[in-house]
Amino acid sequence: MKSDFTSEEIMTVSAARMLRNGAICFVGIGLPSTAANLARRLHAPDAVLIYESGPIGAKPAVLPLSIGDGILAETADSVVSTPEIFRYWLQGGRVDIGFLGAAQLDRFVNINTTVIGDYFRPKVRLPGAGGAPEISTSAKEVLVVVKQSRRSFVEKLDFITSAGFLSGGDARERTGIPGKGPVAVITDLCILRPDRQTRELTVTSVHPGITGERIRANTGWEVRFSDDCRMTEPPTGLELTTLRDLLARTAAAHGSAGVAA
């Protein structure tokens, strides 16, 4: 089956679909921001986007270049300081959905954005935590959007930057973490959700044209498929047009140099 959309497009559209209208969403830059803003233009016009730099209720007409882009401040209902965002809004328990990216994750959706290799003598030094450790615990639910590969989906993390389900089962609940944790991981190949019991990520929806083999080849552990695994609904014409229009307007606004987010 030859599709008329790219794997990145179905990833973004699938992630956008997860954001329910009216949800208070704490948005990471990059893929999460694109998906959240696409959702705002489709089924979730009343989603409230919070960015860690300070804007609350940002409604950017084009995608922001950075987590603290001026367009976020200009279109927000309120712009507060960064400490206030983390103290009153995230830790305050007001965020429904934390929308995160990830450098690496494991089968229990623990995330590593810190180091590959030994912490004190790292092979690769990654950017670090950012807001993720507290987004992943304080937001009521977490969505993760990430390109799937053996580099990103790994058997074992060298550092847990942000807690998913830890060692699985009720390990997360036992820590007293307030938020429920990850509800879905959306990739360019499929959608994975934590198993109810074990909390291990299982493939619940495969994007059109993607084989189970390809998913296995791009996962660093023996990935399971759920019994009722289905095919992801392909992007509708409206979804695709809206996404492409958003990206085109973003490129036009920022110049070709701007296609960063």
Partner: protein, 288 residues
């Protein structure tokens, strides 16, 4: 009371080798000009602090100014890695760089605690992560009422904080708006502070409850138009995103970095000349 100063004089007076120095700005109003001047003056052994070390800290680290970095996210935002930062951490070049790693929430709280003259910050943080095992600066306190255990981290108290803002008035009262980040907290947490501004005005004419740094909490105010380039100044100019993209190539190799630093920073007299060398003359938007 803030003194209107030349940036070079302010850096000379306020920033000393070995100081704890925080240049703040959350993608907005990043004090690039001040960072360059620190490089130009050859400061060494600085303990740098910054939530989001990005290009300016990559440059300072690559230039050899830093011995330590306290941070929560170090990357070229929207582009990728900070190659000079990574080279320092991974290979100790040009000097070993000790790191004190936090989360955004932690560092933001730690600046607040610093501004409030408290020795530590309390947050719901880090639960389930590797931080508590790997980072000795992350400890805990127990609520004396509920028995809950919460993360405790040391407050940030820089020797010097440096921020960029939109305006200051004759007396040195500073106004900033838009994305505020932790700038106010950084200045209030620090022993000394320098603010570079886009504009010197007779009166701030600030709206009610605007973010203002009164003159008497600032040591030096320096008029440095475009001093936040290539980041942006809300109401003045937009982010030069092309530079962020170019930085990836410039910084990837030690030699290309050194050549760039020499030509643009070490051999320029000030930020005006830097901008001229950078050839940004044609790009000065007037979006105000």
């Amino acid at each position: 009371m803030a003194q209107w100063s030349l940036l070079s004089e302010a850096i000379a007076a306020c920033v000393h080798d070995g100081d704890i120095v925080a240049l703040e700005g959350f993608t907005h109003l990043i004090p690039f000009a001040a960072g360059h001047e620190i490089i130009r003056q050859g400061r060494r052994g600085l303990a740098l602090v910054r939530m989001t070390p990005d290009l300016i800290y990559d440059q300072m680290i690559g230039a050899g100014c830093a011995a330590k970095l306290t941070f929560s996210w170090g990357g070229n935002p929207g582009v990728g890695s900070l190659h000079r930062f990574r080279d320092a951490v991974e290979n100790g070049w040009p000097a070993p760089l000790a790191i004190e790693e936090r989360s955004h929430s932690d560092l933001a709280n730690a600046y607040v605690a610093g501004a409030a003259n408290l020795p530590f910050a309390v947050l719901r943080g880090y639960v389930g992560s590797s931080f508590e095992q790997m980072c000795p600066h992350i400890r805990s306190v127990t609520c004396p009422f509920t028995g809950e255990r919460l993360a405790a981290t040391p407050s940030i108290r820089p020797d010097v904080a440096i921020v960029h803002a939109q305006k200051a008035d004759r007396k040195g009262n500073v106004l900033l708006w838009g994305i505020l980040g932790v700038q106010k907290e950084a200045v209030l947490a620090a022993k000394r502070s320098i603010v570079t501004v886009e504009e010197r005005v007779e009166s701030l004419d600030a709206p009610a409850n605007a973010c203002i740094l009164p003159s008497w909490v600032v040591d030096a105010v320096c008029l440095v138009p475009q001093g936040a380039r290539p980041s942006y100044a809300h109401g003045y100019y937009e982010r030069d995103n092309a530079f962020y993209l170019r930085w990836d190539a410039i910084s990837r190799q030690r030699e290309s970095f050194r050549a760039w630093l020499k030509e643009h920073v070490l051999e320029t007299a000030d930020f005006v000349q830097y901008l001229r060398v950078l050839g940004s003359g044609g790009r000065q938007e007037a979006v105000r």
